[in-house]
Structures are given as structure tokens and as C-alpha cells.
Amino acid sequence: MLTKFETKSNRVKGLSFHPRRPWILASLHSGVIQMWDYRMGTLLDRFDEHDGPVRGVHFHATQPLFVSGGDDYKIKVWNYKTHRCLFTLTGHLDYIRTVQFHHEYPWIVSASDDQTIRIWNWQSRTCVAVLTGHNHYVMCASFHPKEDLVVSASLDQTVRVWDIGALRKKTVSPADDILRLTQMNTDLFGGVDAVVKYVLEGHDRGVNWASFHPTLPLIVSGADDRQVKLWRMNGNSIPRLGKFLRFFEYSTQKEVQVAPIRRPGSVSLNQAPRTLSYSPTENAVLICSDVDGGSYDLYIVPKDSAGRADYLQEAKKGAGGSAVFVARNRFAVLEKSSNQVLVKNLKNEIVKKSPLPIATDAIYYAGTGNLLCKAEDRVTIFDLQQRLVLGELQSAGVKYVVWSSDMEYVALLSKHAVVIASKKLVHRSTLHETIRVKSGAWDENGVFIYSTLNHIKYCLPNGDSGIIKTLDVPVYITRVIGNNIFCLDRDGKNKLITVDASEYIFKLALLRKRYDHVMSMIKSSQLCGQAVISYLQQKGFPEVALHFVKDEKTRFNLALESGNIQIAVASAKEIDDKDHWYRLGIEALRQGNVGIVEYAYQRTKNFERLTFLYLITGYMDKVGFMCKIAGQNNNLMGQFHNALYLGDARKRAEILENAGQLPLAYVTAATHGLTEIAERLAAELGENVPSLPEGKTRSLLIPPAPLISSVDWPLLRVMRGIFEGGLDATGRAEVEEDDEAAGADWGDEDLDIVDASDAVANGGDGFDPEEGEANEVDGEEGGWDLEDLELPEPETPKAAGNARSTVFVAPTPGMPVSQIWTQKSSLAGEHAAAGNFDTAMRLLSRQLGIKNFAPLKPMFLDLHMGSHSYLRALATAPVISIAVEKGWSESSSPNVRGPPSLVFTFSQMEDRLKAAYKATTEGKFPEALRQFLNILHTIPLIVVDSRREVDEVKELIEIVREYVLGLRMELKRKELKDNVNRQQELAAYFTNCKLQRVHMRLVLSNAMALCYKQKNFATAEHFARLLLENSPNEVQAKKARQVQQQCNGKQDSHELNYDYRNPFVVCGSTYVPIYRGQKDISCPYCGSRFVPNIEGQLCTICELAVVGADASGLLCSPTQTR
């Protein structure tokens, strides 16, 4: 305590610091307000006008004012310079607890025991808002330092946050005076300008104080429950659940606000929605909250109303611990009291009830028809249909459940752990975090991406995890697509974070042994860091790591670790120090690669080891050589050893002699029967000749010969994966060859080992038959059950007759859809589809004069065949055929039959026409003719929807007819060999058909050439002119011009029945021109023209109708009869 202030009697009820000066106001129980200088410790002034205790006091931020509120229900505003009370605000109906100036606006907020908070304008000296809602004394109220908010605390155990934005807008607008007019209303009906934004419930006793954090969106509150609570103002526990339900389309990243979530009465933080479950097919959303001890709201969002927030459907509500969709149109609601789930449909009706296997706190989706039930210490997957527990896992405190997209894996998130399990809840891995796990999602590759308070991390299927990104603020991951992580921030805004996924993708590829991916990633590599190398080393992939590393020492280590001796040798050569050679030697010895051991020993001049190596590998000549070297180096001991190894007694004696050890030399010689040396040495030694032991048998010490000599021991093949192949090729070919050679030598041995393991496997198989027998025994037991069952049956008392058969009258069969089709329709195609071929034929005959139906047979059959689909219902019962109708739409009413969907459509005809054109262009005339005829034969059975299309069909008939005529004439022309005049005529008539330009040009060129050759110059010139009018290509144009030049003014030399000046049509049968004015007769279907004497014959163009027959005309659309 810095300073203690003496106030004569009374308790201090309120205090306020001056914003700048060292002053403090103290309001006292006695009604006096004192102003102190706290540096000097002196009383500056006292203000005594309140009647009774003054609880609230507050300095103005800028002006020489302060405000006080007392138990006399009065608020007084004072000027401390003039020592006067400026005015008194009245309105409160009970004690005033706190008063506070607004930092900017001329407002005072006051809290009172009358359960209201009031906002006053001290310039106009009026009350501008009454904030009602608390239902006990309001203990404090204060403005937010920046935002248009007020926080209040009350003995009703709540803290409320009020939005006064509307009030501010009014104040800022010039219509200030209106406020005064509406004051009465406001007083009476409660402020409309201030609405409660949050109700913070959580204290168990009255709340005495609440205050905003000056900068962060936090509120602190203290209450009689002896707790201080810190509230986050913007954050609901799940931020995605704001006030509105929104759809976010990941592909387009568009967000659509769908519907406001209806809040019960007042909005409370702790009652905010907690979980959400969505059924995409039905566009239905379940939102669960803790309101009323746990409840859910079911919203069905109309599909086409996206973006139309005006159309709101009332939510269907229900009580329950948690609710979650278990199928497209079923959701399960947890009933905690009875520990069962209610399965409901979208009408919110209970379909089924099922008791749960464990005491469940919450339920989650677990695939269609399954539920994941969460208890305190474990989770289970429960099949609602079979009522079976499919899997169980011990996992405490699970908060969120995230399924992989293929539903094969599930991630269970608890406060500090992530557990990955299979769909049957078989544990895969557990990750512990020291800080809170927030959210997670699976990526397409089966990597789980999750966020903690400050990181985004990954978890591979084997449980390896790592950090992807560090976060400044927490995010809630909603989905992961490739490198893109979609998430929500604390404000519920959608964010997209793009990350570098290569690290975990690489690790995943390794894990899955997708070495090709690993390879390509290494090759294009960006990820060659120490971390990756140590990861590879740890995870048992040193051979992979090997290919990243440039540093020779690391390479050497990795090579040793992965047993890749060849690379180790190469590195050792580079490094060339003793330690590395030594280690190489050890590894090579371990592997039994003698050559390299030798090499390593040689490099380090480790003669002792080298000699011993030679000895044990049987290189006795090399041991001899080593012996010499030792001699040269004056290494007597070594030399002697080597001589021992060699079993060379003479040498030993010689060495000993040379070393001056004559007695030893003598003993050696004498023992091994080297008498001459022994004698010579004896002579030299004289009387110092040592005596040899008596009665001992002598033997020559010769080391046993090695079983395998001079070669490496059997080597296991070094794993040579894709890496050797792929990476070594890029510069280490030489090493590779060595390796190959080593392997080849030992191929046979390798095989032996494999055989041995096979044998073991076979041994294992031997047990199986017994198991099989055991099963058979079981089966027999089942069989006995059956016989038991059979016994009682004959004794069943006889029932009184078979009542069923007599009473029941089966309904009369209804009308098949195909029959409905024919009743409604006079379209031949629909009758054919229905299988009513005779009526179809009659219709065609009447409408189009068709008499020859043979060409239509395949069309009839196809139409009929394609009219029904086949649905297998009960397996052994007959299949149901179902009429395929046309014009389905999402909104078609059931039970209203549509017309048949015909297998021939107009659009198909257009495609066929194109094909026929193509054949024509290519000069495949018979083929083209066949295709055009096919179109012509199908059209009578076509049905189109609109009148416009009817006209198109008619047009199509005309087009096709012209081609059929033309092609027939062309084919006829080719048959004629000698009659050149007729040939020219037919060619000329072809040009009279209405054709596509591309075809017309060809036909004209043809006719032109033909006539020119036959010296019918005038006609040829005519064709040349026509050709030029038809935008020919260069070659054609050039030819046409040449012909024009050559023919200019010349006459025809033969007379043709072709007068182009006189309009004509060509008879479809006789191929003669029918000039205008001459009589003709036409085909009632295709409209081809004929000379009159053809009447009554079959039309040679369409082959269907009779020329000149009576017909009502083409009917190919229901619109024509309406």
C-alpha cells in the first residue's frame, strides 16, 4: 500500500482516478464524494449533495467533470473546477451501483438495482436508452473502450454484453431531437437501440463485476461463487457456427449464407451451437447445442434457395445429447437418460430406438447406418441395423471424430491427443501434443492434417508426424485438397492456406514403398535437408538417404548402415583416413567381403590383422609374403607369428637365431628335427645348450586349413531397389558393376536360403487341415439342431381350414404403362414402343401412306426392345419390367405417366446425317445411300417435343430425299457404260438436287467434266458457271474457268433432255425431268415427285409409301394434335 487515506467514518463505495492528474475520487457511504491528490496525500475537495451512500463515481476523460450515482436514485454530474453539481439525472428506481462516462460520446452509463442499465446523454440531459433484461440487481455496467458495446454484471448470475451500435448511429445522425420525443417510448418499452448480444452464463452466484479487456476481445468477471472467469467474446467453441448457416463451396471457394440460425430467446455464449451434421443429398443440417440441457435443430435447406436468405424454413427441434446423420435421411439422437439412440427421419419422427452398448456421452457418424459412440474412456462403433458392436477402442476424452474420405480410417481428437484407428477401430497410432489439438481433416492420400493452437501438423498412417506450418492464430481445418488447406479462423471466416506438402507426401511414398514416387521426388527434389536424411536413417531407409547426401562422411556412415559396402569403399577412398578404413574393414569382415577387408587393412597398414585374415582365409603364400614384410620392417614378433602361422619351423629357428635368441632357436630346431641347424647352433652355444624336455612327443604346430579359402563368404545380396537402378546410374556405374559381380558368384547360395524358408512355410501349412476338421464338427452340430426342430411339427393340432383362400379377392390388375402410352397417343413410334405394331402400322399408313413396312421392322423391334428396363426384385422371383418414360425431371410427379422414351431421337438423326454427308464427300455412294435411307426409314417413328422441331424433321426428310434421289441417279449412271448421253443427263439431274455446297461443287465438277468431254460445250459452260457461283476451291475454280474459256460461245454437240433454263423436278423412278407445268404425282411421305403413271407404285426413293396414296401428313409430335 502506497498511501492510506483517512476518511472520518465511512466506508468507501466508489473510486475513480483522474485520467491525467494525480487525483482520485472516493465516494463514501455517508454520501460525500472526496477528491484527493494521491501524491501529496491531501484532500482537495469534497462534494456533498447526495442523500445516502454514493456507490458510483467517474471522472470524465477530457473535461473537468465527474459523475456520481447514489442510493438516492440520482445521478449527478459535477464540475470540479467550479465545485458545483451541474445537474441531476433522475429515472432510476433504485440504488445506483455504477456510473461511467463514454470516452467519446456525451453518454453516461449507469447500473442500478432496479434491474436496468441506462444510458444518458449529459448534454441533452436525458436518458437515451434503458437496457432491460437482467432480472436482479445490476452490479456494474461499462462501455467498451472502442466498440459500441456495454458489458454488465448482475446478481442474476449472468454477464451480459449489449450492442449499442444502433444508438450510436442515431446519435451521430442529426435527428437527435427525435430521441427526446421517443424517450417516453423507450422508457416504457425498453430500449430498441441497445440489444443484448451475448448472455454469459456460467457463474453459480451473483456476478459483482465485469469488465472488457482494453484491447483483446475478452471479458473478465468476478462473482460470489468465488470465481473469476475470462470470457472470449468472439469465439464460440466452434467458430464456424456463427449466427448464420453458410455453405462454402470448396471448388469455387464461394460462400453462400443459407439461413440464420434461430437462437432461443437471448443469445448465450455457452449455448452456442456445438456441432453440425450435414446430409448433402437431402440438403439437411443438424445443429446441436446445449440449450435446454442438450437439443438439436434440424434445418432442411431448399436446394434452389442458395443465396436466398429470405426463404427460411422453420427448424425442427428436439431434445437430445447429440444428433448426427447416420444415413441420407436418417439421423440418430442420443438420449442420455436412457442411454439409447432414437433414429429419426427428416420429418423428425422416431423410426427406431436402439439401446447403446456403452454409457455414451456423444455420438458421431461412422458410415451409413453406424454410429460412433463416445464414452468417457473409450469409443465404440455400433451398427444400428444389426445392433452389433463393430469395434471398440480405449481412448479417453475424445472431442472430435474425423473420417477419411474413403471411410477407412478415423481420427479421434481429444484435448491433447490424436488417435488414428481403422474403420473397425483397430488402433493405428497415437500422437500426443502438449498443447491443444484444435481440428483436423484427411487429405486424399490418407494423411491426417491437424491443427493445434499454434501449428498445422501432419500424421502419416504409421504414426509419424511433423509440423507443416506454424500459426499465429489458431485455425480450424475443414478440408484438405492437395496443397490447399481450407480452414476457418476464430471469427468463422473461411481461409485458404497453401502449404508445401512435399515432405509428408515424400514420407508417405516411402512408407507405401512407392519408390517410383520417391524417385521422382528426389530427382526433382527440393526437399534435401538434414531433417529428411535423419528421418530416412531413423526409419530404416539409409539406402534412400544415401542418395541425397553429398558429404562423404555422411555418405560413408549411411553406406555402412545400409550395408552398401561398395559405396562405403568409394567414400572411404575419398575420405582416406584410418578410422574410416578401420570401420570399413569391420563392416566388410562382418559381411565376409574378404577382398574389401584386405583392402581396408592394407590401406591402414594393419599387418597383424591382415596376416590373420590371410591365415583364416587360407592365403598361405600371402602370409609368407607378410612374413617377409615383417622381416623387412624389423618386426620380429610379427615375423615370428607369421612363421608360426605358416608352420615353418625352419623359418622360426632362423628368426630366433637372427634375433640373437640362440637357445630358443636351438630348441626350436632340435624339437622339429632340424638336426643340421641344431648342431650348428649347439656348436655356437657351446656349453649353454639347453636341455630338451624328456619323454614328450613332438608335433609341428600347423594351423588348421580353413574350410573355405581364398574367397568371400557367402554374401547376402544387398537390397538393390529402384534406387540403385535409378540413382546410381547417374554417375556411379563403376560401383554398380562390382556389386553385380559379387552377387553373381553367390546366386546359388541365395536360392538355398529361400528353399529353407519355403520348407518352414510348408510345415506351417500342415496345421490347417486340422482346423478344417474342427469346423466340420461344428457343422454337424448345426445339423442336429434341425432334426430337433422337425419333431414337434407333425403334432401341431390341425387348424380349421385354410381360410385365406376363400375370403381373399385379389384386386384387378391395373393398366400397364405401355397401354397408357397407346391410349394417349397417335404417334406411330410410341405405339411401336408399346409393342402395338398393328396400330403403329395403321397410323403410318394413314398419316404417310406407308404400305411397305419391311424396312421398318428393325426399328419397330428396337423401339419395343428399348421400351422397358429390368429390375430384379426378390432374387428368385420373376424380374419386373418397367416402362422407360421420357422427360423426367426432379419435380415430375409420381404416378403420372409420361410418354415412352424412344430409342430413336432427332438428335441421333442429325448425327447420322453428318455421317452420311461424310460418306458422300468421300465418294462412298452405296454406303452414303444406305445411311440416308436409314434416316428416311427411322424418321416416321421419331417423336419430337416442339413444333419447331416438327419443321426441322420435315426439313430433314426433304434434305435426305434429295440425296437419296441424287445418289440413286449417280449409282445408276455408273451402271450405264455406253449411253453417254444418258450419263450426262443423270449427272445433270444430280446437279438439280438440293445438296450441301461441298457436294454440289463435286457434282457440278463431275457434270461439267462429263459434258465437256462429250463436247456439250454450252451445258459444260453452264455447269462451270454454276460451279464458280458455289465458292469452289482453287483447283475447281481454275478448271471451271478453263472450261468457260474453252466453251465460250460454242454449242452442244449432242442434245440432252436437260433444259436448265426451264425449272424442273426429277422423277424419282424414271429419272426424267418433269418441267414446270407438266403433271406429276408425289410420295405422301418423302415428297419425291414422279411422272403420273407411277401412281400406286411403291416410292422408289423412300421405299415405304405408295406414290399418290392418300395421307394426312407427318405426325411426329404431340404438339401437333393439341
Binding site: K798, R804, G835, I882, R897
Partner: protein, 256 residues
């Protein structure tokens, strides 16, 4: 014991559905077996071709008041008379229902009779019994397809649910494909049917629906037709097509 008998009925019915009549069903069920199994054996006999014999025994048993009300016997009766296209006779034995199987069969019979109103009543009963039962869902889908319109989408979703919950079977794929065809998406139907064909190249419904689908797509279908004709000469599609050819000739005569 009841459960075991029920299980055996299902097992033997499955054998029949797989087309193994003789070895696995007829020779396995001896005269001492329970009525329900005898009934299943009758179906096998009927389907192997002994129609008269099977129907004679069936009628005899049905008139036996001791066993005539056995639900499996009645189910088999319904199936056999349905094959005989004697829907009245079939319904005589099945209309009282009692098991989901029987009601499902009733749905089917009524659909065959083009009385979806009656089928709907049967379905309602099934839904009251167990709305989420596979058979109820299936029957729902059948009815939805039969009444058409917006219901087709619901049928599709039911099959889709099956597809999600169980391994894809030819039946589910065909169900989805039929829905697609009725919704006018023949391309999607074709994809589904080709998948079904992969699973069973001789499945009659797959072949039949592929033929229909290809016709609508303007693709050649004769390959599937000859396959169907070869493996299932009795299939409705083969029969109707054969009779359609006769119809055509007769119609020619009539019109001429």
C-alpha cells in the same frame, strides 16, 4: 432352433438364387427336413423344370391345414405362381403377409399387376415393422421406380445408400442403372452396367439393361443380346423380342 431353420432357409434360397438347384438344394434337403426347407426344395424343383410336379405338391401342401400357413411355404407359393403369372393364386397365399419377405413379395406382385396403390399399402406395413430393414428399403426402391417421377431420385438414393454400406453388387448397380435410365442419364447407366458386367458377365438383368441402354445411346447392342439369348433364353427381354417378331409379321398381315 428357429433361428437355425430360418438361417437354412435363407442359405438354401441363396443357393437357388445362385443357380445351384440340384446339388446344393435338391439333394441336400431330404424328406425329413422341416416344412420350410421342403418348400424351398419345391422352388428348386420348379426352377429346374419340374413345374407340374412342383405345383402339384405345392397345392397339396397348401391345402394341408397343418402346414398350409407356413410363411416360407406361402412365400414359395407366391414366387412359383408369380412365375406362372397367376397373380391371383399367388396373392391368395401371400396377401395376409406376416413376414417382411411375404410383404416384399406382395409389393412385387402388385407391381407386376400395375397396382402400385396396393403395393404402397404393403410397403407401409413393412415400414411399420422395420423401416430401415434392407428388404423394406429395397421394396421402397422398387415401388419408387414403378411410380416414377420424382420418386426415381429417391430410389436412386436408396441404392446409393446400399452402395455405400455394402460392397457393390450387380443388383445394386442394376438398381442404380435402372434409375439412371428412367432419369434419362443413359451414359451413367451404361457406366454402372459395364461395372456390373465386370462382376458377372452373364447376369441376365445386366445384359438386358445394357441392351436397352445401348439402344437408347444409339450404340450396337447385338453382342449383349446374343449373350443373353445364349445364357438366358427364357429372359423376358428375349421372349418379348421373339414374340415381337411374330407380332410384326402378324401385324403386317392385318394391315395389308
Amino acid at each position: 432352433a428357429d433361428a437355425a431353420a430360418e438361417r437354412d432357409v435363407i442359405v438354401f434360397r441363396s443357393y437357388i438364387a445362385l443357380g445351384s438347384y440340384q446339388q446344393l438344394v435338391i439333394s441336400e434337403i431330404d424328406s425329413s427336413a422341416a416344412t420350410s426347407l421342403q418348400a424351398v426344395k419345391l422352388l428348386a424343383l420348379y426352377l429346374t423344370g419340374d413345374k407340374e410336379g412342383a405345383i402339384a405338391s405345392l397345392k397339396e401342401w397348401l391345402s394341408d391345414s397343418a402346414i398350409g400357413s407356413n410363411p416360407v411355404l406361402r412365400l414359395i407359393a407366391g414366387i412359383i405362381f408369380m412365375h406362372e403369372q397367376d397373380y391371383n393364386e399367388a396373392l391368395k397365399h401371400t396377401h395376409t403377409g406376416g413376414t417382411l419377405d411375404l410383404h416384399a413379395l406382395n409389393v412385387q406382385i402388385f407391381l407386376k399387376m400395375h397396382r402400385s396403390d396396393y403395393a404402397d399399402k404393403q410397403l407401409k406395413i413393412m415400414q411399420q415393422t422395420d423401416e430401415d430393414h434392407t428388404l423394406t428399403q429395397l421394396a421402397n426402391a422398387w415401388l419408387d421406380i414403378a411410380v416414377g417421377g420424382s420418386k426415381i431420385r429417391e430410389a436412386y438414393l436408396i441404392f446409393q445408400d446400399f452402395a455405400e454400406k455394402y460392397p457393390m453388387t450387380g443388383m445394386v448397380l442394376n438398381g442404380k442403372a435402372v434409375c439412371c435410365m428412367h432419369m434419362g442419364s443413359f451414359e451413367e447407366a451404361e457406366t454402372l452396367l459395364l461395372e456390373a458386367l465386370n462382376k458377372d458377365a452373364k447376369d441376365p438383368e445386366t445384359l438386358a439393361n445394357l441392351i436397352v441402354c445401348n439402344l437408347h445411346l444409339g450404340k450396337p447392342s447385338s453382342r449383349y443380346f446374343s449373350q443373353l439369348k445364349l445364357s438366358h433364353p427364357d429372359h423376358v427381354l428375349v421372349k418379348t423380342t421373339t414374340s415381337a417378331e411374330g407380332n410384326f409379321e402378324r401385324a403386317l398381315q392385318a394391315v395389308a
